[in-house]
Amino acid sequence: MTGLATAEIEHTYRQYFQIVRAKCARMLRDPAEAQDVAQETFARLWIHRADIADSQAVTAWLYRTSTRLAVDSYRRNRGREPLDAQREDAGRTPGAADRLHAVRLLERIAGRAPPRELEVAILSRIDELTQDEVAEVTGMSSRTVRRLLSRFDGRLARWSGQELEQREQTP
């Protein structure tokens, strides 16, 4: 058998890991979980790297894979105790705090939305990709992306309405 050079792995790591780590930090509010997902994403990149020839394709692949892992994390942690909000918010800039709020909403609705909807919602609303970029990353058509985002918005609106009703009914 022929060994693959560790230097090659190191190079790939140096080039892309920071991008993955930053994206995971945007998507996940638990820093340790974000770090885990980033590492898992990179491990999968390593496994698949023979399929990926250029940086455009690599970045699309990284976004897609890390997003799907984050969706898994949201759905897995549905019943988890909320983290200490003050600790989560500590040190965050206003923009990051807004994203954190969005992540919390995504986590709460994760059990009600199909993974594909969550995937495009993260890419669009957290990573702020255009619909064409979401289509490129996910491999869906732009039309499908639009439809999924529309469904997600409707689902979120209904869920928000139900939450509001419950609060009003609570003495």
């Binding site: 058998m1 790591y13 990179f42 496994i47 800039t93 969005a102 702020e128």
Partner: protein, 275 residues
């Protein structure tokens, strides 16, 4: 160590321009590029319009500079060393969960993997494993809490976990994932036959409390009808000679664990449907 990390500059808007979870992303109307576009810019891919934007937008430029600067850092930690210490000691990391879940599911459908365990190994309760020999020399087990070795196989455009009997093929790339369970060092040997010389393929220190995807992989050549890998995990540093002796004897104790993996090999050009 705290769980707070440097995230680089925040690439976002003024407080009054809050991110919305529903509806069109707010940045589109503000003319800011996406994080994807900024990350690609950090890798050197940018249009004239994006370059112009970066020259005018401090926050976007700061994100690009931060990503690019971090990528050029002289010392990056090894893949398996980048994980922060667990904030909750008893919680398994997702990678581990994914691994074990994959193994369980795979066992159920008899196509995926595997954890391959050494001969004569016993679980934590001392019970003998109901291991089914595969390829004549390895035993298999998917129970949690045990030391294990999994084999990732990259073939063409697909990656799968070796099921313990599926022939590998010339051109495949294989990589090992370990569940060390308190072992701190790994040696990987290869041998062409029972009496052949052992070749040390890999030696590394490993974290005792988490799974470890080795940062070395091997491409399968067309020689022979099988590949034999011997994985030696130890709870103390071993010299290569001592590790080789353990690999040859297969002897195990509290501080040494040996797994012998025999991967049958298809002849070159013998196409087969993937599992």
């Amino acid at each position: 160590m705290t769980t707070t990390r440097s995230r680089g500059p925040d690439h976002h808007r003024e407080p009054s321009q809050h991110l919305r979870i529903s509806g069109a992303p707010p940045e589109r109307g503000q003319g800011h590029p996406s994080f994807l576009a900024l990350d690609r810019a950090a890798l050197g891919s940018r249009t004239a319009a994006l370059s112009r934007h970066l020259s005018e937008c401090d926050r976007c430029r700061a994100h690009v500079d931060w990503i690019a600067g971090a990528a050029a850092a002289p010392e990056m930690p090894r893949l398996e060393r980048v994980a922060a210490p667990r904030s909750r000691p008893l919680r398994r990391r997702p990678a581990m969960r994914a691994w074990l879940s994959a193994a369980t599911a795979a066992a159920a459908v008899a196509v995926a993997v595997v954890a391959l365990v050494g001969r004569g190994d016993r679980d934590e309760r001392g019970a003998s494993r109901s291991a089914a020999p595969a390829a004549g020399e390895a035993r298999f087990d998917t129970s949690k809490g045990a030391r294990a070795v999994g084999v990732y196989v990259l073939r063409g455009r697909r990656t799968f976990l070796w099921n313990g009997s599926e022939p590998i093929a010339p051109g495949d790339t294989i990589r090992l994932k370990l569940v060390p369970e308190q072992m701190t060092q790994v040696h990987v040997f290869s041998t062409g036959g029972a009496a052949g010389p052992l070749i040390l393929l890999h030696r590394a220190d490993i974290a005792p409390d988490r799974d470890d995807l080795l940062d070395t992989a091997w491409r399968v050549d067309g020689a022979g009808d099988r590949e034999v890998l011997i994985v030696v995990l130890s709870a103390r540093p071993l010299s290569p000679a001592a590790a080789e002796a353990a690999a040859r004897s297969g002897g195990m104790g509290d501080d040494i664990w040996v797994a012998r993996l025999v991967l049958p090999k298809r002849p070159a050009g013998d196409e087969e449907v993937l599992p």
